[in-house]
Amino acid sequence: MKPTPAEQLELYTLMVRSRVFEETAGALVVSGEIPGSWLSGIGQEGTLGAIHQLRPDDYLTYTHRGAYGFIGRGSDPKLLLAELLGKRTGYSRGKGGRHIADLEHGILGKSGTIGGHAPLAVGVATAIQIRGGDQVVMSIFGEGTSNRGTTHSSMNAAAVWGLPVVWVCENNGYMGNVPAPMYTAVMDIADMAVGYDMPGEVVDGNDVLAVHEAAEEAIARARAGQGPSLLELKTYRMRPFGETSTDLRDPAEATAWRAKDPIRRFRSALIESGVLTDGATVAISEAATAEMETARSYARDSSFPAPSDAFEDLYA
């Protein structure tokens, strides 16, 4: 079912907020204020079409890339940026950096190992099944992660146990600068679903409404106790692997994908259908910019942890 105009505006606003957050974080990496790294998801915000449909009591496991998981679930950009700056006020009290959990919003943490979150998603879904609820787990991963045994073992287990997992593969075609044919046997990751007896669907990941439609079906299936599904979102990373990495991909290819920028496409469609006006577009962008500037100030003004904080939080 197509989202209502109000839902479409909400979705568009999330996409813009996510992008402005990422631009803000990227600049803070370049300036050195973020002592670690940030792996940008700019260009892949179409995934919000799936994330946006989760209920507050659902769960999300996310990849190493992008802010849209947090923004889409309602995490606070102030606490996200504070964490990236290594501040005590951050989500992980300065101990995690990009490894962020927001349990209040069903985001259970970030695996440092690529694909390490897949078996965890199986476990969260197991908990749902044992309790007897109708929540779902959305587990996002990249096409490179489809190489990992953790991914395959987990897809098999989710299918065997009939678990409410929605596997969402963001296929951006590259592992760093290495193109997918060099590391993946099939070019449609959705084909892997056949091996685990679940539906698999290829979706234009830069068409947020198409993502929305496909995810709606997969989520409904999971909620109804009909087991896992695999969605593959074809997309493209518009930034280098990391904010300070060298990008060796073909510039012509990048230009072609930029024309398919999911935010730009959605904006055009919304303006054409009368849901969005030029004035509202500007207002949404300005509000997002102001929000992220406030978040940045909060992060900058926050204190670093005390050395003694390093000795806390290991055991419950």
Binding site: S92, L108, G109, G116, P119, T126, I130, T150, N156, A316
Partner: protein, 323 residues
């Protein structure tokens, strides 16, 4: 008092805890149909297939799903069968279970109440990948608790404590098993409290699991030769009851640590170092170590015997501290 095997004692612990708390469940390979003496024998009949969850052949899934379920509020018991197999799930056990709470700054009061059951030990002609006792590997890694019960009594009491702990516990039992008295009434054994298996005045020996059995035999042999050995079983390595060990060394002046794991960077090295830091002036001889001399465990019984600790090797190590 009735006599139970270690598996029967653990079975009772799981049954009692699962009755007490609906958030406890077990996941592992081949949990049913039951084939006899195992920790999960007969549990599916009482608790059903959802809570006695038979897993695909993937330690990654068994351990990793336990982590996920714990994050979502359950108390999983992950039956990994052999420690050798659990190497397939080291990312899940060492990094996810052990480090996630810390790495995420205890966000949302995050806790990871998981028990990872692992069988350890050689002396069964099973070869290098079915005989390991990697206690030090887990002790080396932050964030885990480690229980190494010797007797069925301890196995039951420690397992009940492990299930109720809000932290991940790696729970090692020796594949040779044991049998011994277990009371009918409910009891728990706290972590971090060593048991003095045998009181003695001449030398202190620290050992866990089957090494306690071997050490008690060595102590008995030495008793006939006028050597009075104190045998301490820490029961949990993390937390470690170092005070009881140090107190004993103050009394005896001599320390030998027996460990079935490889010697290098091992349990004996760690306990020896901690004792030297705290009680160096009390030591009247170098700390002795009896452990696997850094070799894969071979199959043929004479070779296996050459590599693993034995009563004779333990006796010799104790004697060396007395000369």
């Amino acid at each position: 008092m009735r006599t139970l095997t270690t598996s029967q004692a653990m079975n009772e612990a799981l049954r009692e805890e699962m009755r007490r708390d609906p958030s406890v469940y077990v996941v592992g390979l081949g949990l049913y149909p039951s084939t006899g003496d195992s920790a999960t024998n007969g549990l599916v009949e009482e608790f059903g297939e959802s809570r006695i969850r038979s897993a695909p052949m993937s330690e990654t899934v068994i351990a990793g799903s336990a982590v996920g379920a714990a994050l979502a509020g359950l108390r999983p018991v992950a039956e990994l069968h052999l420690a050798d197999f659990a190497f397939n799930a080291l990312d899940e056990i060492l990094s996810k279970a052990g480090k996630w709470r810390y790495m995420h700054g205890a966000n949302g009061a995050m806790k990871l109440p998981i028990v990872f059951l692992q069988g350890i030990g050689g002396y069964v002609a099973a070869g290098a990948e079915h005989s390991q006792s990697p206690l030090a590997l887990y002790w080396h890694s932050p964030g885990l608790k480690i229980a190494v019960p010797t007797t069925p009594y301890d196995a039951k009491g420690l397992l009940k404590t492990a299930v109720r702990d809000d932290n991940p516990v790696v729970f090692f039992t020796h594949k040779l098993g044991d049998s011994g008295p277990v009371p009918e009434d409910e009891y728990l054994i706290p972590f971090g409290v060593a048991e003095i298996r045998r009181a003695g005045a001449d030398a202190t020996v620290v050992a866990t699991s089957y090494m306690v059995t071997l050490t008690l035999q060595a102590a008995q042999n030495l008793e006939g030769q006028g050597v009075d050995v104190e045998v301490i079983d820490p029961r949990t390595l993390e937390p470690l009851d170092i005070e009881t060990i140090v107190d004993s060394v103050h009394k005896t002046g001599r320390l030998v640590v027996v460990d079935e794991d490889t010697e290098r960077c091992g349990v004996a090295a760690e306990i020896g170092a901690q004792v030297m830091e705290r009680a160096f002036p009390a030591l009247r001889a170098p700390v002795g170590r009896v452990a696997n001399p850094n070799l894969p465990i071979p199959y043929s019984p004479p070779l296996e015997e050459a590599v693993l600790p034995s009563v004779a090797k333990i006796e010799a190590a104790i004697r060396a501290t007395l000369t």
